[in-house]
Symmetry: C2
Subunit: 222 residues, 2 copies
Amino acid sequence: VPSRRPPSSRSTREAISRREGKALTRQALVRAALKLLSRNSFDSISLREVTREAGISPTAFYRHFDDMEELGLVLVEESFGSLREMLRVARSDPTMFGDAINRSVETVVIHVRDHEDLFRFIARERYGGVRRLRRAINRELQAIADELSVDLTAFPVIGGWPLEDRRMFAGMLVETMVTTAAALLDAPRDQTDEIATRAKRQLRLMTLGVPHWKPQHTDRAR
Amino acid sequence: VPSRRPPSSRSTREAISRREGKALTRQALVRAALKLLSRNSFDSISLREVTREAGISPTAFYRHFDDMEELGLVLVEESFGSLREMLRVARSDPTMFGDAINRSVETVVIHVRDHEDLFRFIARERYGGVRRLRRAINRELQAIADELSVDLTAFPVIGGWPLEDRRMFAGMLVETMVTTAAALLDAPRDQTDEIATRAKRQLRLMTLGVPHWKPQHTDRAR
DNA sequence: TGTACATCAGTGAACGCGCGTTCACTGATGTAC
DNA sequence: TGTACATCAGTGAACGCGCGTTCACTGATGTAC
């Protein structure tokens, strides 16, 4: 009668605490779900598929999540955790050269290739069939756009815009990045450059409009 | 033992040919699928659900489609059929006033409200879990963008751009429209104006960049 | 126009299958003394 | 340090259910004469 430790057991026989083991299994469930999500959408994968992929019995699932929807929300959290970390690193990476547009697009290209499952999940479920996931994802994207709108204060012309205008522009940038990521995921590798170039040109055109934009008056009383 | 004509039988007792009856049932299946798709994504709805919603037995499904995927592809075809018809009418509607941006956004707002299921299907399955549907939808969107890039020749500055540049711009416009439609569908009614205004401002900013864009040389030899 | 036969959109029963969830359980890890 | 007990992550059997698909069928519509 087998009943040993977690499915993703370390090859070395390190002593492993119950807490650590549980965390490992949970991670296995999350990774299993992300993997399955690259083929299907969230509301069509089953609890049993996830546990099978993670290497545990279906019933053990309930030790970690109440139901699939809760797993989905954790997926959103963890995906955006990774994404924010990437952005944080990218912002302060001194080895990146070139202007902001080229840098940003290249960053997206690299990270999409390195974390396909994660980006696919976000792109797919953003408009997917599960309301709470859509909400959670759009909330996170909005938060990223809001942070970006603060960063924009450091840029020449746009830095002087009122918050609301910077927010609009940040929204366009984030939107372009997400669309580009989705396009990269669905296209063969040899179209990578084409898609990246297209994104750069689109961003360039947007920035060309910036100096000619008349910021809206900050007359709060509408 | 009942075995009468189609589920969506005309209330009046008009004579109905076999061919017409079959077409009606097929339409009922398409409409049923679109309706179910507003709650779930395509790869999570079942053949039996669709037939139940359409009011026929599960087995009759096979008189119309080989399987669900075929129904999905028909859904794409018919959805874009309607969409193109809307665009055609919108382009030639003499009762629409205002500049192109306001007109376009207002057109999207009106049609999204009138055909929620249709737009939701396109937005949802564009990045959804069924490869062939994604492909089909993106092909159609590309075709719409291409048509638009021809229409753009009629506009002041942009009309002189080379095709490739107009295509890029048309792509941005279509993308903005799709995103706006998706946002409208997922937001409560009282945010309609806010979303529409945002779209108009984004489009305005893009067009401000146009006069300052340096069209790429048409040196075909790269 | 009437009759005999062909077509075929729709039916209901049946199948084997994977699903989510419950249950009582096991046995290693953790803790109290 | 050793012992006795508690905890709890994971197990396998079992359940009822909806699924996709097959099959032989029915009876109104369509067609040939």
